[in-house]
């Protein structure tokens, strides 16, 4: 069997084919990824323009259009978006989506028998500030069952989609919560090969972010792989 296709290094990046996650079996490419066209490494993406035109909508406890507030444990999720050198990225666009506190998404295809919350859409957008920082207010999402294997449950998570300035910065990932016993049973979480890399998907409880009487704080930094994910092999761009 050929080595499974994957992007980037073999510690942080999941292989496309990960049979424990059943849906990969017919969707994973099986041929090796080719080196990219040289211009892709230098390509500026749509992120800056998208960030400039978006209306930030970062309080998910009260953005569902009604007068009420979402049910659940109120949380603050904040962090810094960094480039591959560890420098903060201002004006990065972050879009998130998540299940409500009962583990149910506002989505036609979500058949989980758990209640919807009329005051929770589970959708937010935010642009990082001059220091690369973002901040959402939301409720802690519930775990929910899925059909991957018998008695399969997704650990609580928030989906994040991030645009940095470069085309190759593009990242879609999931943020998990500390101390969740479902993580070690979850093939999506475990598709990331290196345990230290998996830990980078878990937010940290941050008491300095917690607002007294209001909401618990979590910190989750996002480091984009960017152009440097592909070794430059001595080309003149020095990436």
């Amino acid at each position: 069997m050929p080595e499974a296709a994957r992007r980037g290094d073999d510690a942080s990046f999941p292989p496309f084919l990960f049979p424990d996650y059943r849906s990969t079996r017919l969707r994973a490419p099986t041929m090796p990824l080719l080196p990219p066209p040289p211009s892709v490494r230098e390509l500026t993406g749509p992120g800056p323009a998208l960030a400039a035109e978006v209306d930030p909508n970062a309080d998910l406890t009260r953005n569902a259009g009604g007068a009420g507030t979402a049910i659940g444990e109120r949380i603050i999720v904040t962090g810094t978006v960094l480039d591959s050198s560890g420098d903060p990225i201002p004006r990065a666009l972050i879009e998130i989506w998540q299940a409500n506190a009962a583990g149910r998404y506002v989505h036609d295809e979500d058949g989980h028998d758990a209640p919807l919350d009329p005051n929770f859409s589970g959708i937010g957008t935010c642009v990082t500030d001059a220091n690369g920082a973002y901040r959402f207010v939301t409720v802690r999402p519930g775990a929910y069952p899925w059909v991957n294997h018998p008695n399969a449950w997704r650990p609580a998570h928030v989906h994040l989609s991030v645009f940095g300035p470069a085309f190759s910065d593009r990242l879609v990932t999931q943020m998990y919560f500390p101390g969740d016993p479902l993580q070690e049973l979850d093939p999506i979480f475990n598709s990331v090969p290196d345990p230290a890399a998996r830990r980078r998907l878990v937010a940290r409880y941050a008491h300095d972010v917690t607002e007294p009487g209001t909401a618990l704080g979590f910190r989750f930094d996002v480091r984009l792989a960017g152009v440097a994910a592909t070794p430059s092999e001595g080309t003149s761009d020095g990436a």
Binding site: R7, M31, P37, R41, P46, L50, R223, L224, T230
Partner: protein, 185 residues
């Protein structure tokens, strides 16, 4: 290599309300000059079945540059021209409208054939997939050194064909004998 990048995870099946909250399938604002084109195709799995919950993002960088250049005369759109996002429908189909791409310079001084840069996301894809769409009537292999470096038998997976109605057709095949060329970017 980036030190300790944040690992990617699948987009899953429930992204629509967030990532497709507004339509973004027109890449070129009205003021951008050029032949108006439509590009469409299906996302297919390893058994040739439609992937009905994929997300296709396209980036036509030269349109963004041309739109920004219009700022001097009629204002430009001031926005994200050149970027498109399409979900796939019940038969796995995505689609975009734009202006016909033009050649762009390559870092080594050669030219790149007209193309779109493409990212594919879906439930069951643990990471995004990067590819390109070239256009058959540009004779892209003759222009583009990158395309010539792709094994000859796989080049067609990067090149859209034109149907009798003038639409460009391009399927994105995730797995199998006719698997689309994806690259490490």
């Amino acid at each position: 290599m980036a030190r300790e990048p944040t690992p990617p995870q699948t987009v899953g099946p429930f992204f629509h309300g967030s990532l497709l909250r507004e339509p973004r399938t027109r890449l070129a604002p009205d003021g951008v000059a050029g032949e108006r084109i439509r590009i469409e195709g299906r996302v297919l799995d390893g058994e040739g079945r439609p992937v009905t919950d994929a997300l296709v993002e396209v980036w036509q960088a030269e349109v963004a540059a041309r739109d920004a250049d219009r700022a001097g005369d009629d204002g430009g759109s001031g926005g994200s021209a050149g970027f498109g996002r399409s979900g796939t429908d019940g038969v796995g189909r995505y689609g975009f409208e734009s202006v016909r791409p033009v050649r762009s310079p390559a870092p080594d001084g050669s030219s790149e054939a007209p193309h779109l840069d493409v990212l594919v996301f879906a439930r069951g894809l643990l990471d995004r997939l990067a590819t390109r769409i070239y256009f058959e009537d540009d004779d892209p292999v003759a222009i583009d050194p990158f395309l010539r470096a792709v094994p000859e038998e796989r080049r067609a997976t990067l090149i859209a064909t034109r149907d009798e109605e003038g639409r460009y057709l391009h399927d994105l095949v995730l797995q199998g004998a006719s698997e689309t060329v994806f690259f490490d970017a």
